[in-house]
Symmetry: none
Subunit: 200 residues, 4 copies
DNA sequence: TATGAATGAGTCTTCATTCAT
DNA sequence: AATGAATGAAGACTCATTCAT
């Protein structure tokens, strides 16, 4: 067994420590950007020493990756693994409305994370692999969910993809941009109507 | 201490040199990411020495900014200042189809630029200012264009915003992701139908 | 972007390391000049890596400044905070003689520091501030000391200033110039006589 | 004849150009310091191109050296080659008073030059050589002048040296420091009295 | 002669990572 | 396990000097 192996922490205190590094480190990265955040700051934010970071993570990049894995459902469109079963074919619009509201809430937490990570998708193979797999699962889950609910629209995969994009853009709009010439309530209604129009 | 004046090149050869630095430098930045590209590489790609870069640009960041300014119409949704006047109310779909096709072509050139820059919007005030102004103009131009063509849809600004997002996502999908479970022809048709449905 | 905190070393070994950097770094700067000494050389002279320098000092300039603070009493006219109390009104000359001798010894250590720093007083606000405050204290201390000893010469501040200048010049003469047409013993006597003449 | 030889300008316009570079370049160096002034600034201040500087001067350092040579009499204690012959043994004090006044005027022009150059004396052999030769001449001239006027004080060389130092310090005091606790009129009188006391 | 664009070695500084304790 | 001091490679930027015109 090599000496420099990354230890998967077993003791409770260690797990907490690793979690802290991911949480606070990832927070900082999302807030200031990966390249504008150094490991000393991450360690400090997590309340640990710089040295210990390298016992739990291979390198700085690894912190980001684990952060993305942990918070994927808040950053990207959720995979909906534990989907709420309140769905009825008739309340499609309301179903998506609550999904959007939840997504907006999540986005408020993740701040710049989404775009920061999307940028890295292009220069970072590991992040790219994770993201694409995640996106695939996410789309597939929703497609299957809708099919199970009796929706048999042609090209449903493409429809879902487009709808996810619509929701994504909407959330960014609402959370970040605050264009003062746009009425967000109207925009939400328009997006919901479009989704319903697409899916039904 | 030094004066360090940035010279705006006047001679033809100098202009060409500055252009080369922007073009090749920006290309490299888009390809590998801003933080993964160093000034030596930029200079080398442009076929110049590192020193000369600083005669034409304040700093590395300035290269990025000028690149964004120069290629904005390829990276983001175009401002459509010189819009094609072939538009008829009846060929709305075909009008947007050719717009999308052009946009896709542009995106193929700009590669990862879009997301790289979107990420920096959050940590970089100058880029943010430019982008937001650009986006505002872009939306306004399209809204006015459509109004001039007799389209008086309620909430037209929001509608255009959503449509622009749809086109944006579509292009990324087509240019980058290559999800093998998605049929891009179907997707394009769906997006076009959605836009027409939204605008009319 | 980084926090870049300057750590004030607490552990004994760290204090020693910081001291080494000041001592050897300042020595080198005094010997070769501030602008002819680079950080790599300073680090090497102190037996440390370049990186560690920036844990203890904000920048290269900070090394110089701390060096000046630490060695001020050797470089400039001493503040005489812990003044020798052997002074009698009658042995004024001998008192100054021992002061000069001590000062000459110090100057031998500080080498070119004095003029190097005097030059920087004009282009460097922090150094200027320190120097002027130091000079003020120095003069004031001596004036008060003499007044306490019962010397009530008119214009004592100016007299002390002039005397300090005389001593300063004398020391430089003796330590550096080695003009071979000047008899330093005679010169010392002349300066001492002049000071006594001025003060009494 | 090598191609890169420094040309001593023959044509009038060339001489003027070389003079301009020395004058404005040296001014700038004295004002901002040698290391804080770059050749581009010097050329600009002299109204010439950077390239031409190297036809008249071996390197940047050479500009400084020629500047010092040209302005030595304003920067350092003058050599008094063309001494005013109004001197009478009885008006020693007034003679030195006018000398001090002239010196103060010169110092106002040369600004930081004196100390800047004194600092470089220690790291720059050429400057050191020039300065020491100049100082030697200066002292010798004054000594001879006084001897010719019938002053036969013992240790006259040392006396003159000390007096020159007194005047030097006085000028710096008056021109630069502006210590607000010092009365400069009193100081001037004290210095003059001291010199007279020393010389007679 | 003269220009000013171009060069590239050299400098300060940062920071991911390692190591002594 | 943990600390945080230490390392040193790498990067942005400057500027004395040269060169094409």
């Amino acid at each position: 067994m090599g000496e420099n192996e990354i230890k998967e922490p077993i003791q409770k205190r260690s797990i907490e420590k690793k979690d802290k590094i991911i949480r606070y480190g990832f927070d900082l990265i999302c807030e200031k950007g990966y390249y504008n955040t150094n490991t000393a700051e991450i360690a400090k934010a997590a309340g640990v020493s710089t040295g210990i970071v390298y016992r739990y993570f291979k390198d700085k990049h690894d912190i980001l990756l684990e952060g993305i894995r942990l918070y994927a459902d808040s950053i990207f469109f959720p995979t909906l693994n534990n989907i709420d079963d309140e769905f009825q074919k008739t309340n499609l619009k309301e179903f998506f409305r609550s999904m959007i509201n939840e997504f907006i809430e999540n986005h408020k937490l993740s701040l710049v994370a989404h775009e920061e990570i999307m940028a890295m998708v292009h220069s970072d193979k590991e992040i790219a692999d994770f993201y694409h797999q995640y996106e695939l699962n996410s789309t597939k889950n929703i497609v299957e969910f809708l099919q199970n609910k009796g929706i048999n629209k042609k090209n449903l995969t493409e429809v879902v993809h487009i709808s996810m994009g619509l929701v994504d853009n909407l959330c960014h709009e609402v959370v970040y941009h605050k264009h003062n010439n746009i009425d967000y309530n109207n925009m939400i209604e328009l997006v919901l109507d479009t989704i319903v129009h697409l899916i039904q």
